[in-house]
Structure formats: structure tokens, C-alpha cells
Symmetry: C3
Amino acid sequence: MSQSWTISTLAERLGGAWHGDDVAIDHVASLESAASGALAFLANPRFKPQMAQSAAAAVVLKAADAEGLTRPHIVAKDPHLFFARAAQLLHPARVAQGGVHPSATVSDAAQVDASAQIGPGVVVEAGARIAAGAILLANVYVGRDVIIGEGALLYPQVCVLDHCEIGARVILHPAAIIGADGFGNAWAGDHWEKIPQLGRVIIGDDVEIGACTTVDRGALEDTVIGQGARLDNLIQVAHNVEVGAHTAMAACVGIAGSTKIGARCQIGGAAMISGHLEIADGTVVLGGTLVAKTIHQSGVYSGSYPMQEHGDWLKNAAQLRHLNELVQRVKQLEKQLTALQVASGEEKQ
Amino acid sequence: MSQSWTISTLAERLGGAWHGDDVAIDHVASLESAASGALAFLANPRFKPQMAQSAAAAVVLKAADAEGLTRPHIVAKDPHLFFARAAQLLHPARVAQGGVHPSATVSDAAQVDASAQIGPGVVVEAGARIAAGAILLANVYVGRDVIIGEGALLYPQVCVLDHCEIGARVILHPAAIIGADGFGNAWAGDHWEKIPQLGRVIIGDDVEIGACTTVDRGALEDTVIGQGARLDNLIQVAHNVEVGAHTAMAACVGIAGSTKIGARCQIGGAAMISGHLEIADGTVVLGGTLVAKTIHQSGVYSGSYPMQEHGDWLKNAAQLRHLNELVQRVKQLEKQLTALQVASGEEKQ
Amino acid sequence: MSQSWTISTLAERLGGAWHGDDVAIDHVASLESAASGALAFLANPRFKPQMAQSAAAAVVLKAADAEGLTRPHIVAKDPHLFFARAAQLLHPARVAQGGVHPSATVSDAAQVDASAQIGPGVVVEAGARIAAGAILLANVYVGRDVIIGEGALLYPQVCVLDHCEIGARVILHPAAIIGADGFGNAWAGDHWEKIPQLGRVIIGDDVEIGACTTVDRGALEDTVIGQGARLDNLIQVAHNVEVGAHTAMAACVGIAGSTKIGARCQIGGAAMISGHLEIADGTVVLGGTLVAKTIHQSGVYSGSYPMQEHGDWLKNAAQLRHLNELVQRVKQLEKQLTALQVASGEEKQ
């Protein structure tokens, strides 16, 4: 089953130029830990000393860093991307072992492709459809009428609630919760009245969603995660949010209801995005930034308090509470100084 | 079983005035997606163009927005609240299918009402009591001596640990974790010593708690979530916190130990609240605010760094680290200017 | 089985001096709720009135606070630590009930010690080794080749994914997710290419990890949590992070990839730490701080926007966006004032 690789076959398959002996490669590793059979990569020329010490069978790197190199190596335009793809070939993803574990509970009214793998303790409700090659690991829950796309991989403890749709090749990490109710409440004078959440979550093909990330179902319309998007762990996506295709967000991000994030955005860790906003395609939001208004124009946006030694912070933060007064004092100084300058000028005349 | 509704029966049941043909209503929808049979609502007069285009069978709106309207509609004092209640009638909540799934593990020493629904893979430990009409979906865990109130709904992967009490009609979304140990450690010179967490979590009636939200058990006393409170996803409630009745908090909030939050507060997303504080009834904390001291007086509180284009942020954040020095420079300027003014005045005399 | 304790036996076992009647103690409690049989402790002299009212059988306190006290009490150097240890004795931790629940799914190719407790719905994959006295509560998932150390306690819904190692006496709270893929993606011009995550998570002995906390596996090398570390709930630990021994972090912290946190650090709730940094041993980071650069020197570090009444915040935050301009205005004033002072001095001469 497993294929054997050399630097020439890898370079041919993935697009690169190989040099030196055509050594066999059976895994990827870091420069530091690489041993025989390992392909490593040089991320940055300042790691050349580590490369010199490395026991890697071969190294992937840029042409500029390969000058004079005699050891087996592959020159690639984007060594990081080459390395990612080589790692995929050398460490292939899990393949479905078709069949339903006897401890799973699958409704007679669900459709499960014979090639799909349904693990122990999995529950699949009526009307759900599990496509070919999908893998549902232990204790996954799939609600009524849910669609799980071809080759999707659902790790243990994942929940996909009623009516949601998961695209092909989607990866949902453990305890990702897709389709819980959005946070919808109407104040009724002395208590909150629950607003039933009737929309779905629609997740496009090739999306990856991290552990303990929650994507709420829409209130009336759907919550949508575009094709190829990447969401890290512990992210909150509220009802009716739309995340554009190939947008990536690091862990601990929160997105409030009905916000539309464009395609190919990059959202840094712990950024918090208010509701009912729009963020332009290709926008970069740095970690820890609170986005409280629409971003019409792509660019890089920041907003986090700079860290300091605590004593300095105490002084500066205290003054920050009076910043507006300070501005008024400066205005006053400017006025008075101008008056003095005029007076002094008049005197001179 | 299902009841059929028209705008007259809805208006009569929920308190509103209906106008136009007494059309049949079988679901709610947004103005944009509404089709025949749908009730929609007008949230804001600026959406009147969408209303004009909408295929909704009827619309709920304010009297002021209904002038001259000839299509079937319902005038309500609070259209949002009317709509929420209509949605509850038209899309009724899950009803328990009494019985224990054969794959569940229920202790002989637990009491489960015959009308309660115990789903596949559920575990109920000794001494637990599950009241009438409660629904425990797949793989829920209920620890020893736990009480689950009448009509409570526990979604898949929820954990309620030993001795905790869950009120009537409470909704716990997937992977909500109730009663894990609080974070209690005593430093023992060269390591942390665990402080056993001996309190419980007590959750009042009609509370709703979001997916992956964690409410820790108390150290000695209990952690308490008051009746009707609403907690969104990914919220941390530490040991011995008290959350007042009908307080609502958006996702990603964290509350440190022993803090007491009043009734009817609204806490914005990602707000972080330090330990051992009190927050007055009716307080509003905006998203992203770090609350580091007691709030004695209700009001609206904020504290988040404003987002900027990254280049501007770099400059401003750098200066912020020297804000206190800037204040000193302004003080110095004020002194010197006063001296000059005095000197200049003296010269004139 | 259970041992009976008096203040003399507790003092002898844990190191303290007892005074008054040698009363029996069978549980710990707070001063307020203590009843007969309870040991309470005085955390702070300002709670002496509560102590006077307390029905506790005995109180632990400092020598300085015990002057003139006639009720039964124990004087300890560190009453909090004494109390923690007394609580451990009086409320002993769960002990494994050796055996595999019939609803569990344990691979024939896994090794499970006969004294380990494997609860209902638990899944243990091939190659995994579960050591003596370990407890795996309901629906825990243990992947291929995982090692679970002696006496470890895994609460319901915990996942430990393939190849990870969990030390002895480690406690993993519900839905803690150990070894999900790190967030590794390479941009391929029009989409993200997944970088297989091939490292492990290695968790040292006596570590405690909170509910819904996620610790990602390394990309090539391992993610490491040092012995005795304490992680609260809803924390994100990204791939290749190293957390030093006995470091404690409160809830909602996020640590980005490859950052190395020293030993005995204390990281406050909701602190966010960027990737590829180092933090010195013994560093204290206060809650809500964003750490964006290496901390070479231990100390106390802060960085959070101070909370204000919303109207004040609006004014100050607006000015903050122009802080650099304000600094330029002050510079200008200083220059002009100097010029005036020189001119005025010259006139006088």
C-alpha cells in the first residue's frame, strides 16, 4: 500500500529541482531531530548552522540558500509549501475503515455510505446522510437531517446538530460544536424570552475547525463558513455570521452575530469582532484587537494595549483615564502661548 | 397534534391587533426569505423597502410603521418580543420521548422519571434524580446525586458533575461542563497542593447555558447561577461566583472566583471580570472590557483599546508607554508658561 | 476504611500546634457555614468577627491571630496550605474501581492495568497503555499508542489523541482535549494546504488541566507541559509550546505556537501570549495582558485598558487614537516656549 519516495520522485511530484544523491525519504522532521530517511527544510538562512549539523537525509530550501550545498537537497520556490505537501505524501491522512461499530446508534432513517466509518458510541439521527469515505470517530453526535460530506473527518466528541451541512473533506477537531442555538433572547419586561433558532450552519468544502470551537446555527437564515476556511481552537462564531472562503483565524477569536468576514482574511488570536459588521476581503486583524466597526478597506489593523512592567503600567493606565483632560490642557497651553507670542511680538514692534 | 394559526389567533394569544385578511401562518422567517405561510417582522423602519418586496404572508410591526399598510399585518407594542413568542408557538421546542435508550448506563440507585428521555450513551450515576419531561441527549454525563429539573434539556456531551443541581426548564448546550473543580491551589514551597473543591453548582430555573461553557463547582460554598440567566458559549464561571437572576452574558466572557454579579446585568462578549468583586444590579459592561474593581453603581462601563490601522497603532501604542512622562512634560510647560506670563505682566507694569 | 481525625492528629500529621480541647474533625468548611465537626480557617485577621460567630469545631490560623483564643484551634505557619492538606485528608480523592465497563470499547492491542477503572462508553485504541490506578470516566477517548500514567484521573468527555503521553496522577477535567492537530497551514496561492501535525503532547506528572482546555500536538517536535503545572479551564496551548514545571495559569489564557514559558510562572486569566517568545522563570503576567515580546527578566507585567464609565471612555479612547499627534504638539510647545524664554531673557539683558 505505502509508496516509497526519493528526493527525485518528490521533486517530480511536487515541483522542485533535486541535487546530490537520490536518497530515499520516509518521513519529515525538523533540522534538529532529523535522522536517516528524514526530509527537513530550511525556513530561514539564519538556521544554516543547524542545517550543517543536521542528520537529515535531505533538505528543502530556496535556490539562494542552496549555493555550494553538496548534500542531497531539493530547491523549491516555496520550501514551506513543498514541505507541507511532502509531509502529506509521507504521512498520509487517516482512511475510512468502512462500517458501523456495534456500539454506535444509527437511525434506520439515516443514510450511511458503506465506505463511511462510524466509530464506537457514535449517534446518527433520522434523516442524516453520511457520504462516502467520511470518518466519524468515537462518540460523535450527528443530528436529524444533517449532511456530512465525502471524506469528512469528525474527531471524538464532535456534535453536529439538526439540519446542518458539512462539506467534503472537512475536518472537525474534538468537541467542535456545530449548530448549537444562537444567543437569541427578547426582553419581556421581567425575564428573557427565548427566540427559537431556526437557521442552519453550512460549512463549505475543505474547511478545518478546531477543538472546542463553537459555530452557532442561524436565527432565521444560516451561518456560513466558506470553502477552505481555517478556524483554530476555542473560537466562537455566533448566529448568522458569514466567514469568507480561505479566511484563517487563530485560536480564541470571537465573532458576534450577523458579522460578515470577507475571503482570504487573517484574524489573529483572541481578536474579538462585534456584531453586524463587515470586514473586507484580504483584511489582516492582529491578535487581541477588538474590531468594533466595519472595515471597508483591506489592510492591517491593530488595537491592543502594550504590555509593561507593572509599576509603569499603573502610572500610564491611571493617566489614560484622564487623557481627554490632558488634551484640553495642551489646547489651553497652545492658546496661552500664542497670546504670549503675539504680546511679545507687539512689544518688539 | 400541531395547531394551526392565523394572524387573528396569534394576535389574540400574544396580544396584538391584526389587520387585513386573516391569513394562515405556519412558520416565521426573515423579510428577505419569507414565502407563503410565513410571518416576518419589521425591526426598523429603514427596512420598509425590504418589507415592500417581501413575500411574507404577514408582518408584525409597530403602529407607527403600519400607517397605510394594506397587506395582512399585526401591530404589536414590541414586535421583536411578539415575534419571539410567535416563533415559540410555530416552532415548538423538543418534547421528551420518555424512556431509557438501551445503550445508556443508568445506575439502579438513580431515580429517573418515566417521562424523561435518556438518550444513547448517556450515563447517570447513583443518587441522581432526573425529573419529569427532562431530555438527556446522546452521551450526556450526570454524576452522583445530581438533580436535573423538570423539563430540562441537556444536549449531547454535556457533563453535570457530582452533587450539582439543575433547575426546571434549564437548557444546557453541547459540551457545557457544570461542576468541574474550581481552580484551587496552595503553594507549598516547591509545588502546588490541590485544594479539594467541595461546593456544588446550583443553576436556577429557566437558565440557558451555551456550548463549551464551564461553570466550576465552589471550593467550600456553592457557585450559583440565578433564575432566568442567559450564558452564551465559551464562558468561564469560576468557583463561588454568583450570577444574578436574568443576567445575560455574551460569548467568551470570563469571571474569576467569588465575584458576585447582580441581577439583570448585561455583560458583553469577551469581557473579563476579576475575582472577589461585586457588580451592581442592572449594570451593562461592554464587550472586551476588563473589570478589575467593584462596580457599586449601575451604568454602562467600557474599556477596550480602539482599533486602528497598524501604522497608526504602532505610533500611538509606543507613546502610550510614556503617557505618564508626557503628563509630567505638560505640567512642566504649564509652570514655565505661568512664570513667563507673570514676567511678561510685570514688564508691562 | 475511613480514618477519624482530631485536631491533635491533624496537627501531628501536617505540622502545626493544637490548642484547646482535642475535638473530632470530619470535614472542612468556611467560617460562615461551618457546623459541628468542621475545621475552618482564618485567611485574614479582618475576618475575626466571622470567626467569633462561627460554629466550627476548630479553626486553623496564624500564631499572630491566635492570641487569647480559647476555642480549639491549630496554629500553622501557612494556614491556607494546612487547610488544603487537611481537606485532602478529610475528603479523599476518588479511588479507582478496577475493571472495564461492559459498554466500553477497549482494543485487544491495548494494555489496561487490572487496577485501572474504565468507565461506560470509554474508547481505548490499539497500542494504548493505561497504568495502575488510572480512572477513565464516562465516554473518555484514548487514541492509539497513548500512555496514561499511574493514578491519572480523566473526567468524562476527555480526549487524548494518538501517541500522546499523560504523566502519573495527572487530572484532566471534562472535555479537555489533548493532542488535537496544531494550526499548521501553508498558503498555496489560492488556498491553504494543511501541514500534517506529527509531534505529540507530553504532560508531566501531577499536572492538572481544566475543562474545555485544548493542548495541541506539536508540528514536528512535541508540545510539553512540565511537571506539576496547573492549567485552568478554556485555555489554548498551541503546537510546540513548552510550559515549565509548576507554572499556573488561570482560565481563558491563550498561548500561540512555539512559545516557551518558564517554570513557576503565574499567568492571569485571559492573558494572551504571542508565538515564538520566551518567558523567564517566575514571571507574573496579570490578567488580560497581551504578551507580544519575550520577557527576559522575571517580574510583574501588565497591559490592560482601564475600565471607565462609558462616556469617559468614549472621550479618552477617541484621544488615544491621536496620542502621537498630541506628543508632537507638546514637543512643539516645548520648542516655542524655549524660544520665548530665550527672547524674554534677551530683552531683559
